[in-house]
């Protein structure tokens, strides 16, 4: 009966029951009439009529068999049957459920992140109406997305394409007034920010346009998570005062929980209106700075305006906006170029995301990796199901012979796969819960700038994905074995009785094909892992131009200490002198910037006789360091001297350059004694004389070890900065210096804020994505290899077991045992070779995909392929050796007696 009838019958079942009852009643009444007409008493007639009709209840049931209940009942029966038969083979069940669970779990894990970072629209009302303004022509995120505050104000006041337009810029605030800093993520947002995203307050109120006016005192809005974390979600927090980098702000309200802001992966803890930057940073604020690019602009389009129309409208106000915000200190030609720039409006359905830019493609690569793993696991399960079907061959044949419906058997076998997949999916969801957390930990750095905040809660999409994956799994690994299992010719199966002397190979070809596929797929993963692990190793082994071990970085921030600008240098000098005498400190120095830090400084070099071909060629990196910086960092001085006490302010300005710098400007000639100037706005600085050459060291990008860099003396600093970094070298664990350092620095000045970080940590943080890819691809490669080898071992063992008779005969006829081993190993070798050939082709494709992540290795590097193949072949050989040895130990007498 068609299923829809069954379903309709559920609703009709009451009526049907009543109808049947009435019909049976009528029938019995008629029969009784007939019997009574023949002269039988009423009592007897009733009895006979009932007897003749048969069991009334059973009857009703039979009529009602059209009911879905019966269908559900039979499915439940199948499930019970599947559970029972799985209970009888617990090893099979556990192995299958575990491998499916891991496979599905890995897929759900990566998908959870992929969904949160790449796929999901912003969790705000009608995200499809959002669009952002950029100056970048490419549509790729980057520098072109950032506005200066004057430019933002121009656009804000002129535009008519957005119903509501907002700007935001990220910073960090320090929650402590003195001592070790506690940073939180802070965002300066424009007044319309919360309106644009239609955010409701969880408590108190959010900003409106009137909060963001120049000269404001400022108030703070907390994110829901920060409010929970820091205030335990207490409503009294609203109205209280929070001190941010030493400045008090009244807490106006808390944003609702679902709001995580437009920067996916980055969430503010505290929001301040843009105007409050003047309060926090004082005269150093960038509200009127025309060349400080720090805010991004996003808005909700006016209804009926699409991004193309909005682009045109915003482009129309570009000229006027740029003209009013032109950086006055730029050179004339740069200013002329500036005012010709334009704006583009692009959809912002998914918001901005640095995390997405950094990890999006890596996550896609990982997604492909876990999909391959699931395929390999599927092949294993399919093979297990195949051999299981083989052992149930006769049972199925008998059932078919005595009239079982093939579709019914098929359904029963598929139910078993479905039960397995469902169990696998449940295990997978549990695995994913841990997996996603571990993965986020892998991409999060301890400091505030590296915190990744994502909504990873289980939702309908993830559940749907898991169910989809499980369904695909059932189809892939259950359907073919079930189909084959029920395609038995009953007579043949009974006749063969599983005792043929030579086992037919046809039935077995599928099993081997699956192993070939497994070997091929695992080779793809092992080769990719080889490249990614190799990249990570190359990057960790790479000489950054300094020795990070044993170095502690202490950031000393005087901004809260109320020290006048001209007092900073001597105070910093006092700090440095004080820590030099600390026990355990072998070297100490200070600098304005640290390698791979957040800050950087580049400037244009002017050298007599050197004409740069492009403006970029004249620009190099800079750092300001104290004497002893190079010996503390163990950066070798190749020529000339270090800075010394004689290099004082007012004296001849001196500089030390690295090899790359020297090569760029002086070629092979010695730069010692030569001079350069810096372009300072429209004037030039006094000349710097080069007194030394040091080896190349990493500046900001770990992958670029030969960037031209010049170092100038802190003692000659023109405008000493408030924050310096002290580097301390020790022979022990650099962290052990922290307690002593804290008291020592506080004894010099009590109101400094401090941050400590070992330089090695700084290096490790810079390698986060590479580490994640290496760890995960290594893990995937190993799992794939293990699964494939397990499959190979299973199939070979099984094949040997099936061929016991044949092998027994061979041995009885005088085959040497070594020959039998060769026979089995030959078969293994063939399967593995075929897999490797196919896998090599796949790996070439895969390595092209991972090429953008690689460093110090070529995607065509034959060494990687060769070692992967060697590894696979060796493990495969060992996996084949055990069944081969067993095959050679077959006792011919026993094997033949089994007949």
């Amino acid at each position: 009966m068609a299923w829809h009838h069954r379903i309709l019958n559920i609703f009709r079942s009451n009526r049907i029951s009543r109808d049947i009852e009435r019909e049976v009643e009528f029938h019995i009444a008629e029969r009784m009439d007939h019997l009574r007409a023949g002269g039988i008493s009423e009592e007897e007639a009733r009895r006979l009529a009932r007897q003749q009709f048969g069991n009334e209840t059973a009857q009703r049931e039979r009529v009602r068999s059209m009911d879905i209940a019966e269908w559900v009942e039979s499915v439940a029966g199948d499930i019970r049957y599947a559970l029972r038969s799985l209970r009888h083979s617990p090893v099979f069940a556990i192995v299958t459920i575990a491998s499916l669970g891991l496979g599905i779990g890995a897929n759900t894990t990566i998908f959870t992140l992929l969904d949160a970072v790449v796929l999901r629209p912003l969790a705000v009302d009608r995200p499809d109406e959002l669009a952002y303004i950029t100056m970048s022509t490419t549509g790729k995120s980057g520098a072109g997305d950032y506005f200066t505050n004057p430019l933002w104000e121009q656009v804000r006041d002129r535009q008519d394409a957005f119903r509501s337009l907002a700007a935001f810029g990220e910073t960090s605030f320090n929650l402590t007034d003195a001592g070790e800093a506690r940073h939180v993520v802070g965002w300066y947002v424009s007044g319309d920010f919360f309106t644009t995203f239609a955010v409701a307050p969880e408590a108190g109120r959010l900003f409106t346009r009137s909060d963001d006016v120049r000269g404001c005192g400022g108030s703070a809005v907390l994110s829901h998570r920060f409010w929970k974390r820091e205030y335990g979600g207490r409503p009294e927090a609203v109205g209280s005062v929070i001190r941010l980098t030493g400045h008090p702000f009244e807490i106006a309200g808390v944003a609702e929980e679902s709001f995580r802001g437009p920067d996916v992966g980055r969430e503010a803890d505290v929001y301040l209106p843009i105007c409050a930057q003047a309060v926090v940073q004082g005269p150093a604020n960038t509200l009127d700075n025309r060349s400080s690019w720090w805010m991004r602009v996003i808005g909700r389009l006016t209804p009926g305006v699409d991004t193309r129309q909005a682009s045109a409208r915003i482009a129309a106000i570009a000229r006027a906006s740029y003209e009013s915000a032109v950086p006055q200190h730029w050179r004339a030609e740069e200013q002329r170029e500036f005012v010709t720039r334009t704006f583009y409006v692009r959809p912002a359905l998914k918001g901005f995301s640095d995390v997405r830019d950094q990890y999006g493609s890596a996550l896609l690569a990982l997604m492909a990796g876990v999909a391959l793993i699931l395929l390999i696991a599927c092949a294993n399960v399919a093979n297990l199901l195949l051999s299981r079907a083989q052992t149930r061959h006769r049972e199925l044949a008998i059932r078919l012979a005595i009239g079982a419906d093939r579709r019914r058997l098929l359904r029963q076998l598929l139910t078993e796969s479905m039960v397995l997949a469902a169990a696998g999916a449940i295990v997978g969801l549990v695995v994913a819960q841990f997996g996603t957390r571990a993965l986020v930990a892998l991409i999060t750095t301890p400091d505030v700038s590296g915190t990744v905040s994502l909504d990873l809660a289980l939702n309908g999409r993830l559940l749907g994905f898991t169910i989809l994956v499980a369904t695909i799994t059932v189809t892939l690994c259950g359907l073919v074995p079930a189909w084959r299992a029920t395609r038995v010719n009953a007579q043949m199966a009974m006749k063969a009785q599983g005792r043929g002397v030579v086992e037919g190979h046809t039935r077995f070809r599928l099993g081997k094909a699956l192993v070939v596929a497994q070997v091929a797929l695992s080779l793809v993963l092992v080769v990719s892992a080889g490249f990614l692990v190799g990249t990570f190793r190359n990057l960790t082994r790479l000489d950054p131009g300094f020795d990070a071990s044993g170095v502690l970085l202490a950031t000393v921030d005087l901004r809260r200490a109320n020290v006048a600008a001209d007092g900073r240098a001597s105070l910093h000098q006092q700090f440095l002198d004080r820590v030099r005498s600390l026990p355990g400190v072998t070297h100490a120095s200070s600098s304005d910037l640290i390698p791979m830090g957040r800050g950087s400084w580049n400037d244009e070099i002017i050298i007599d006789g050197f004409t740069p071909k492009t403006r970029e060629e004249g620009v190099t990196w800079f750092n300001e360091v104290s004497p002893g910086y190079f010996s503390t960092m163990r950066t070798r001085i190749l020529a000339g001297r270090d800075f010394g006490t004689g290099d004082v302010a007012g004296g001849e300005r001196v500089a030390i350059v690295n090899e790359a710098w020297s090569r760029r400007f002086f070629g092979e000639r010695s730069p010692l004694g030569r001079q350069f100037r810096l372009r300072d706005r429209r004037t030039l600085t006094p000349p710097y004389t080069i007194i030394g050459v040091v080896q190349n060291a990493v500046y900001q990008n770990l992958r670029a070890t030969d960037e031209p860099t010049a170092y100038v003396a802190q003692s000659q600093s023109v405008s000493p900065v408030a924050t310096r970094i002290i580097e301390l070298r020790t022979n022990g664990d650099p962290r052990s210096l922290i307690p002593g350092l804290r008291t020592a620095l506080a004894s010099v000045h009590s109101a400094v804020t401090l941050d400590f970080k070992p330089l090695e940590q700084q290096l490790a943080d810079a390698l986060q994505r590479e580490r994640m890819l290496a760890v995960l691809s290594g893990l995937f490669g190993s799992v794939a290899l293990a699964l494939a080898i397990l499959g190979l071992y299973g199939v070979t063992s099984y094949s040997v077991a099936r061929r016991r008779n044949e092998l027994g005969v061979r041995i009885a006829l005088g085959a040497v045992r070594a020959r039998v081993m060769r026979l089995v190993l030959g078969e293994v070798g063939f399967v593995v070779m075929l897999g490797i050939v196919i896998g090599t082709v796949g790996a070439q494709f895969a390595s092209k995909q991972v090429a953008p992540f690689l460093y110090g290795t070529e995607p065509a590097d034959p060494k990687v392929y060769l070692s992967a193949v060697m590894l696979l072949a060796t493990v495969a050989f060992i996996a084949g050796l055990i069944p081969a040895w067993k095959a050679s130990r077959v006792d011919p007498i026993e094997a033949l007696r089994e007949q």
């Binding site: 009966m1 008629e30 009439d33």
Partner: protein
């Protein structure tokens, strides 16, 4: 239960019911059993227990339709009648029955 009469061969019940309804018009279940018994000169006997499930299935398949009516004795009964789809089915089943009996007859005659 005594089996004096031939129980109806599996699969032929539908044929007999369709034929009965096609020839004699709408009928209730009891009348169908009586009719088959009568017309077959008591050679065939419908097992009452299988009749109603068969009728329902045939109705679900669209071969029959039914409605409640009143008999001459003023009893409520469900009357079945054949549909056009049922007539097509009847033609099919008649043809295959004829093939079967002809085959069997030939075997009995010549084998």
């Amino acid at each position: 239960m005594a089996r004096g009469k031939n129980d109806i061969l599996q699969g032929t019940l539908a044929l007999l019911v369709l034929r009965t309804l096609a020839v004699a018009g709408p009928m209730h279940g009891y009348a169908i059993t009586s009719h088959i018994q009568l017309v077959s000169a008591e050679l065939l006997r419908v097992e009452e227990g299988s009749l109603y499930p068969a009728l329902h299935r045939m109705e679900q398949d669209g071969w029959l339709k039914s409605n409640w009516g009143t008999t001459e004795k003023k009893r409520e009964a469900r009357f079945y009648s054949i549909t056009p789809k049922g007539r097509r089915q009847l033609a099919d089943e008649e043809a295959s029955w004829n093939r079967l009996t002809e085959g069997v007859n030939r075997v009995l005659r010549y084998a």
